[in-house]
Symmetry: C2
Subunit: 399 residues, 2 copies
């Protein structure tokens, strides 16, 4: 094990038990609950040890400064502490741990940045507690209204304002204006780096994506007595649509998932009157995504005609393509000799990309699994991530 | 409209509003709730008007007697008042209304039975309140333990014993021994009589049927970032199995339905870790049913191999073939010049068939729909049902 990998492991172990569920091995680190508050205290402690003053922005986001915040043109790096239910260890925390270790690397090399450098921890990135992902970065950038954010409630009815201890501050153009760039390091949520045999990649874009609700209306009837030919069974149309979405996505190198379903009445011996399925679809290009959803719709509608059911399609959300700063991505890929990859997942970097030059680094995940205890990264790859991040921060702050 | 059809309509209208949901047009007549208690009072009133003493058996079943119960060799007819949630008007009550009108027809013709004749109303046939279908007939015949029946609870936690007002009496061999035959008239729960252009049929059998649980285990993952090729998505195996069950049933002239599903975690952006589907399968012959379930299992297992998922199959219940008394069915079919049909649904007649010669008559249902407000029967066909039932009762009680 290299010295850096050993240092990574030591720092990593200091937060590994926090919020870990003994049964699943996954993490329950919801924003502003006890485990995440422990991690926020850990953040302050790590910043203190490095002589980096910590600023809380009034929205729940933390920033530890190396250099004078008021100097402007700062480079921000970091990620988030919160997890999805029973999520993996690396999604979020790896970006913060790597940021502190990158600072150590730069200092050990005797580097002094020509601009301020900040390590950030954004609140409620997953949206697992209050329902809106990237809540902290959306508040900072003004992409969500303070009134709405304050009143978001968790499953127990606690509002975000109550959890925060105050009404969130909302858009902060002064703070935002101090940052000239943001770099988020994140564990990869797929296996592209395994196949490309590389430990680190640079992100090109976040795929356009959305959610579409397919309501299939049929005719409730007795499962025991209704002849097959007399049925109008919406479960058949649903099942066909699930398989069609999979096939159409494969044909287009896109992603389509039907992972959520609601059935009325959902009783073993009653042919359903209605089945609703939700399609999550993502693709590299908006036109590919549009073509994918249209193809699934057409196949579902054709099958509905055969089944005697009726299809109603509703777009519940659509997020356009987030293209990270092309010049920055190219510069970092050249610097690191790293591949450039798109991602299908949303991140705080996707929110900030609309406001300042933003880049992401991905660290190889051997399982490719994400939002699950099976998410993984080797210490050697995490060390390679720290090295890459340190080089990027040096490049961006050297003048 | 014939006189009999008009008499049917008048008696039918007297109970049509009871327990009807104004929004769905369906009925909420759960056993021993207010609407069903109203119908039980209506039963006593109809019996009183005809000079038929009413006996309650201590299990919640009612019997109105024409003739001396103690004479033995009685012929029983009737059905049930209770409904499934938002069920149709005819399922159950048609058999009781038709029984009283058949008594009127026999008396108007000057017929005097040589044996006692009883009109019965069984409690909780649908199992919609306490979960066990044919509860009243199962108690009377001793096919369910009193201890278990007493402790069955509805959704509000009320036990069957509390609803009944007493611990159920359970098996009553003396009462059961007084019946020499049972004939249940029921609305058809399919469209066979529409196609055969006949108003009434005689039942041959209740198909063997059962419920099988298919658990598909996959790997939870991120719907946005996981490439299609890297997935182990159990929703795909489930969907394929739904379509396979439909196809295999059609090939065999059997019935297969997957109407209930449970998904973990059932979130739009999370490939499920587990999907469970319940198969309801029925066929005319036990070997056909076995072949159907085995074919669905084999197709599901093959698809599971392709999807990288794992299938566990569990038989949750299996009910063997109920063959109604063959001699009696043939005799009634000849008497009525009516077709003989099997059914896929359970009935009190199916429970009693193990204890005494039992037959069923079906009345044509233009929609073929059952357990739904769309269930229907014309007044003319209901009158034909009364005429057929009167002829059957005359035949069975004339000596």
């Amino acid at each position: 094990m290299t010295d850096l990998a050993a240092r990574f492991r030591k720092l990593w172990d200091s937060l590994a038990p926090v919020g870990r569920d003994a049964d699943s091995g996954g993490y329950l680190r919801y924003a502003l609950t006890e485990p995440e508050r422990w991690l926020r205290a850990w953040f302050r402690d790590q910043a203190d040890q490095r002589g980096m003053p910590v600023q809380e922005d009034g929205n729940g986001n933390l920033f530890a400064w190396w250099g004078d915040p008021a100097a402007g043109d700062a480079v921000l790096t970091g990620s988030h502490f919160d997890s999805v239910p029973h999520g993996g260890a690396y999604d979020g925390p790896l970006g913060i741990v790597s940021a502190f270790l990158a600072v150590d690397e730069l200092r050990a090399a005797g580097f002094t940045p020509a601009r301020p450098l900040a390590v950030g921890a954004f609140v409620e990135e997953e949206g697992a507690r209050f329902g809106v992902p990237c809540l902290g970065s959306r508040l900072l950038t003004g992409e969500i209204a303070v009134e709405r954010a304050a009143e978001l409630r968790d499953a127990a009815g606690v509002s975000f304002a109550d959890a925060l201890g105050d009404r969130p501050a909302g858009a902060d153009p002064v703070l935002l204006g101090r940052f000239a760039a943001f770099v988020e390091l994140h564990v990869e949520q797929g296996r592209a780096l395994v196949e490309q045999d590389a430990p680190v990649a640079v992100a090109s874009a976040i795929w356009p994506h959305g959610r579409w609700r397919f309501d299939f209306q049929g005719e409730g009837n007795h499962a025991g007595t209704t002849r097959m030919a007399d049925r109008r069974d919406p479960m058949l149309t649903y099942a066909f649509t699930v398989l069609a979405a999979n096939k159409e996505a494969r044909l287009r190198d896109a992603h389509a998932t039907v992972a959520r379903v609601a059935v009325e009445p959902n009783a073993t011996n009653a042919i359903p009157s209605r089945v609703t399925g939700w399609l999550d679809a993502r693709a590299a290009e908006p036109q590919t995504l549009h073509g994918l959803v249209e193809a699934v719709r057409a196949k579902a509608a054709e099958r509905a005609r055969r089944d005697g059911t009726e299809l109603t399609l509703t777009e519940e959300s659509a997020t356009p393509l987030v293209a990270f700063d092309g010049g920055l991505a190219k510069r970092l890929a050249t610097l690191l000799d790293a591949p450039v990859l798109p991602t299908g997942a949303g991140h705080d970097a996707g929110v900030l990309a609309a406001h300042l030059p933003t880049a992401m680094l991905f660290v190889r995940n051997p399982t490719g699994v994400s939002h699950s205890p099976a998410e993984a990264a080797t210490d050697a790859d995490c060390a390679a991530g720290v090295t890459a991040l340190a080089r990027v921060l040096e490049e961006l702050t050297c003048r």
